[in-house]
Subunit: 190 residues, 2 copies
């Protein structure tokens, strides 16, 4: 009952329509490669280079649909490797976050703020939240039992919306720390 699918989010980029057109050309639209667990969200065919002062992450996947703000979600390992800041933020909270350059086949975008490390979170519907007895923005702990790297993640933020589907999202550092590659289950614990 209490089990939640834990999904690992690899590094990815969200873009505005304007930035998409700068990167890929006027009137460009994303092409769906694969639908994701959250309704309407998809991995696109399109990829961009994420350029920092020290290094470049090549061919990073753009997730769709387009967003009101361009946002680059990196692990802290990624951020350190290319030499950019990535404060731990909820998606959409990009004010004062890290800077980088995006390079596409038709142009470049200097992103002044938008690089974050995603705060670990659980998407759930209002019905799920009612069942778990928790509310939007609650901070919970989630136990993940894996052979050799079991752990309990604290500081997991709950996000409730009728548009969501029940799933916990962690980044690749967090996933590796728990040996949670593939789809494992987590449990909210007191």
């Amino acid at each position: 009952m209490n089990q939640i699918l834990v999904e690992t989010s690899a590094r990815h980029v969200h873009v505005t329509q304007q930035d998409l057109e700068t990167l890929f050309g006027a009137g460009y639209e994303l092409h769906v490669k694969k639908m994701l667990s959250q309704p309407g969200q998809f991995a696109s065919e399109e990829r961009v280079d994420v350029v920092g002062p020290k290094k470049t992450l090549s061919r990073v996947s753009i997730l769709g649909p387009i967003r009101p703000a361009t946002q680059i979600e990196l692990s802290l390992t990624d951020a350190r490797s290319i030499g950019v800041d990535a404060p731990i933020r909820e998606s959409g909270d990009v004010a004062g976050s890290g800077a980088c350059k995006l390079v596409g086949p038709c142009g470049e975008v200097e992103v002044k703020e938008g690089v974050i490390a995603a705060k670990r979170h659980i998407h759930m519907t209002p019905e799920d939240a009612h069942e778990f007895g928790i509310e939007d923005k609650a901070i919970v702990s989630v136990r993940i039992n894996t052979p050799g790297r079991s752990l309990i993640f604290g500081d997991v933020v709950v996000r409730v919306s009728p548009k969501f589907s029940l799933a916990m999202h962690i980044d690749t550092d967090e996933s590796n720390a728990a040996c949670a590659a593939g789809n494992v289950m987590g449990e909210i614990v007191p």
Copy 2:
């Protein structure tokens, strides 16, 4: 009383005298760059490239003194990026572990087994163990409280020896998952 210094181990290599000489030349000896928390252990001036099928990690630090077996300690992020296996193992337990190539200024070594992701662990003296009420090889959980990424690591192995100094070691993935860069403190919890 219950607090333990948590140190982040970046990727590194241990080498046999024979492999050191293949990499750096006959009769070569490591040069101490910086002593580490564990008595007698040091980061050396020497660095080697760790080559996998997909990519190379350049200039990885060799830790001294020399060991009876060559061992490459990577994060799972590192291992995936260069395309090698890195099973989660205690230091020294390299049978059947991952393969890679090491490249030094004077030669190369094909390492057939030796690539691991270190199992998170606590070094302590017999006196520490007595104080904590635990024994060598005990598996414990350690709580780390950081702003935004608190967590409790399970599956932490305790290693007791009079040659050790009290410290917990985690890799960079684990450190990032806890935002534990720099020196933070952990607490053994039930």
